[in-house]
């Protein structure tokens, strides 16, 4: 057992699992339900939702009302659908090898 204990420390790593899950926001910017793992804090989930709601609202004000938003990041895709002034937001990691190919800032 001592031998195994010697290597136990080397197994630990800093690799974090990418968040995957869904949450819903009401029209007042409150999180109603969430399946997002605890690695993303409640405050971060709320921030994401509130930014998404602000973008939907901004689009309406700019006279381009939208019912769905898709954000492509290097390793995550966020999809948001408008629901009666609120929104349902999906966080999904991109499958490895499916990185976006545009060179961006």
């Amino acid at each position: 057992m001592g031998f195994l204990t010697l290597f136990r420390g080397a197994v630990k790593s800093d690799v974090k699992r990418l968040p995957a899950g869904t949450f819903t926001m009401d029209s007042r910017g409150r999180v109603v339900s969430s399946t997002v793992p605890h690695s993303v804090s409640a405050g971060q989930v709320r921030d994401i939702g509130q930014h998404v709601l602000a973008i939907f609202k901004g689009a309406r004000n700019a006279q381009v009302p939208l019912y769905e938003l898709v954000f492509n990041y290097g390793v995550i895709k966020i999809t948001a659908r408008e629901m009666r002034g609120g929104a349902i937001v999906f966080l999904s990691p991109r499958p490895s090898g499916q990185a976006p190919d545009a060179e961006t800032n």
Partner: protein, 357 residues
């Protein structure tokens, strides 16, 4: 009665339904008026037989008016819809118009308002009748204006254009120009020939199902190329139509991609104005694009999600896509609403590559 207009009234209040049914049956066109007290039944009725017009309340139990609107708009894109509600709310009004309703009416409170309402409904029915017969009074519009309007509305129709003894046809399908013909010419050559006519008359006729597609280019690119060709043939490089279409914007080349309605290049520095091809409301849209991009980059950092490469939004009127470049700023493009999400994403990548280079 054949050719009789049919109205479907949807309201959870049966007394209101009876009252409006009676009033609308007295219109000069004597429409047939059916009623429904629930959204589900209204959709079943629409499935079962064609209606000219749906008049719906917004506040109803189970399935509310906005839900009905979104289903009806998707399933019956050509149905005319009027909202008639006691609910006076700007947000509901804008959401209803975003769903493509023809009119948003507050329930009439007196005889005068009721008369206005009846006149409006009669006018809508009359317009629908005239359209089916192949007439639409737009004599003050040029043929290019008309084509652009038809493309924007995403409709299907065939146009008959006459100039003296010459006759031409242009076929449109879901907002795309798919074919043209005049004399022995077909496709793009025929389209170019028809647009070179200086005057004449046109009629909009019902679409022809299964008409073959001989023109593959997007409507904007086709109109631009045609205007250039006509000008070159006439040796007139400064014609008004070319000026309107071309606007000599370096972004025009990006507007030739399939489905693109407009393109904006937005500098990251807010003091610098955005440049646009085919865009409206540029300042407000540019502000929204900058704000959205900044917000979602913050989210990317928060989640350690990597760079934000692209965002796009789907709308009932049009889709919008946005991508960024470290030096050049943001590229924003509007796409026709019939463009699939995956096509928007892929096309935006190609546009970005061209723009960045």
């Amino acid at each position: 009665m054949e050719g009789q207009q049919k109205i479907l009234l949807l309201d959870d209040d049966e007394t209101m339904l009876e009252l409006y049914q009676q009033l609308l049956q007295e219109l000069p066109s004597h429409p047939e008026v059916q009623t429904s007290t629930s959204g589900a039944r209204a959709i079943s009725l629409l499935d079962a037989e064609p209606f000219t017009l749906l008049i719906t309340d917004l506040r109803m139990p189970k399935m509310d008016g906005l839900q009905v609107l979104s289903i009806v708009r998707r399933k019956f894109p050509h149905l005319r819809i009027v909202v008639l509600t006691a609910l006076v709310d700007e947000e509901f009004r804008s959401r209803a118009y975003a769903q493509g309703v023809e009119l948003f009416w507050q329930k009439p409170a007196n005889g005068e308002e009721m008369q206005f309402f009846k006149d409006c409904i009669e006018s809508l029915l009359d317009r629908e009748y005239r359209q089916e017969s192949g007439f639409r009074g737009m004599q003050s519009k040029s043929l290019v204006d008309l084509l652009q309007l038809e493309c924007l509305s995403g409709g299907s129709s065939s146009l008959r254009i006459t100039q003296g003894s010459l006759e031409g046809r242009i076929w449109m399908q879901n907002g795309d120009i798919i074919d043209a013909a005049t004399g022995d010419l077909k496709g793009e050559k025929a389209f170019c020939e028809i647009l070179s006519w200086r005057g004449g008359h046109f009629e909009i006729l019902p679409p022809e199902a299964n008409h073959p597609r001989l023109i593959a280019e997007s409507p904007q690119a086709l109109l631009l190329n045609t205007a250039q060709t006509i000008d070159e043939e006439k040796g007139d490089p400064h014609s008004t139509e070319t000026e309107v279409l071309r606007k000599t914007s370096p972004l025009a080349a990006l507007g030739r991609f399939e489905g693109v309605e407009f393109v904006l290049a937005i500098p990251l520095d807010e003091r610098e104005p955005a440049s646009s091809w085919g865009g409206e409301n540029v300042e407000q849209l540019g502000g929204w694009a900058r704000d959205s991009w900044r917000r979602m980059r913050q989210i990317g950092e928060l989640l350690h999600a990597g760079d934000l490469s692209q965002m796009h939004g789907l709308g009932l009127q049009r889709h919008i896509a946005l991508t960024g470049h470290a030096q050049k700023g943001l590229l924003c493009a509007g796409f026709r609403r019939v463009t699939p999400s995956a096509t928007v994403e892929q096309t935006m990548k190609q546009m970005f590559a061209k723009w960045a280079s």
